[in-house]
């Protein structure tokens, strides 16, 4: 069991694009970010039922605690001072770019967070959107858990290579 990479979930994207018409709106601030330990083994090709918070690999081994409750923190309050991360989906040089403000949640006590699962909390299926691999196990003590997103954005889809 281990987290070795970040990635998107094929089942979620299939359901967005096919007759399922999964209503993933990436501009929503209701999406949540939940931490998981290195005890999970992400499967980016998991079925829709398992590519979801509270299902499959994400049914256990969540890292939560003071300041970061189980279920995760919504993007509406995940930036510094409890502000919204204000996610955006734009087009830049032929690529879709999903980006948001940096994460900074204060007063957290978390042990061995290894990755973050961004999922659609507003949908009944809690569909997984993205998994971010932190690269190691990180812990806070009554402190800030922050994420500085790269200059290129949270994720990009290059549709015109």
């Amino acid at each position: 069991m281990s987290v070795t990479a970040s990635g998107l979930f094929t089942a979620t994207w299939q359901d967005i694009l096919d007759a399922t018409q999964l209503a993933i709106d990436l501009s929503l601030t209701s999406h949540k970010l939940a931490h998981f330990s290195n005890s999970i083994t992400p499967d980016f090709d998991a079925s829709a039922a398992n590519a979801a918070y509270g299902a499959g690999q994400y049914a256990s081994n969540e890292v939560s605690g003071t300041g970061w409750a189980a279920g995760g923190v919504a993007l509406s309050a995940i930036a510094s001072g409890g502000a919204s991360a204000s996610p955006t989906l734009t087009v830049s040089s032929g690529s879709l770019v999903y980006d948001m403000n940096d994460v900074a949640v204060s007063g957290t006590t978390l042990t061995n967070a290894r990755c973050g699962l961004l999922y659609a909390d507003a949908l009944a299926g809690n569909n997984a959107i993205l998994l971010v691999n932190y690269g190691g196990d990180y812990s806070t003590v009554n402190g800030i858990f922050g994420i500085t997103w790269a200059a290129g954005g949270v994720f990009t889809l290059d549709l015109t290579p």
């Binding site: 970040s6 990635g7 998107l8 994460v103 978390l110 967070a113 993205l130 971010v132 691999n133 932190y134 690269g135 190691g136 990180y138 812990s139 806070t140 003590v141 009554n142 402190g143 800030i144 858990f145 922050g146 994420i147 500085t148 997103w149 790269a150 200059a151 290129g152 954005g153 949270v154 994720f155 990009t156 889809l157 290059d158 549709l159 015109t160 290579p161």
Partner: protein, 76 residues
């Protein structure tokens, strides 16, 4: 022939060896004067220990997840 410390120092001055591996440690001070110790690992993730209040922060240097495609016309 093995490299000598002088050889290694010459290489370093030419920027062939431009970054030391391992964690980087730095020290600072909060606005209220409390000393802090920053430990930044090779991924750029930073753990900050505070001298008072038993506090530890984490700042993740997240990667951009890039999904790339190749547009091709494949004919049988």
């Amino acid at each position: 022939m093995n490299g000598t410390p002088i050889d290694l120092e010459k290489l370093r001055s030419l920027s062939v060896i431009s970054r030391r591996s391992g964690d980087r440690v730095s020290y600072g001070e909060r606005s209220d004067g409390v000393k802090v110790k920053h430990t930044t690992d090779e991924l750029g993730n930073r753990v900050t220990e505070h001298a008072k209040g038993d506090r530890q922060d984490v700042l993740i240097n997240a990667p951009t997840v890039q999904v790339t495609t190749a547009t091709r016309e494949v004919r049988d």
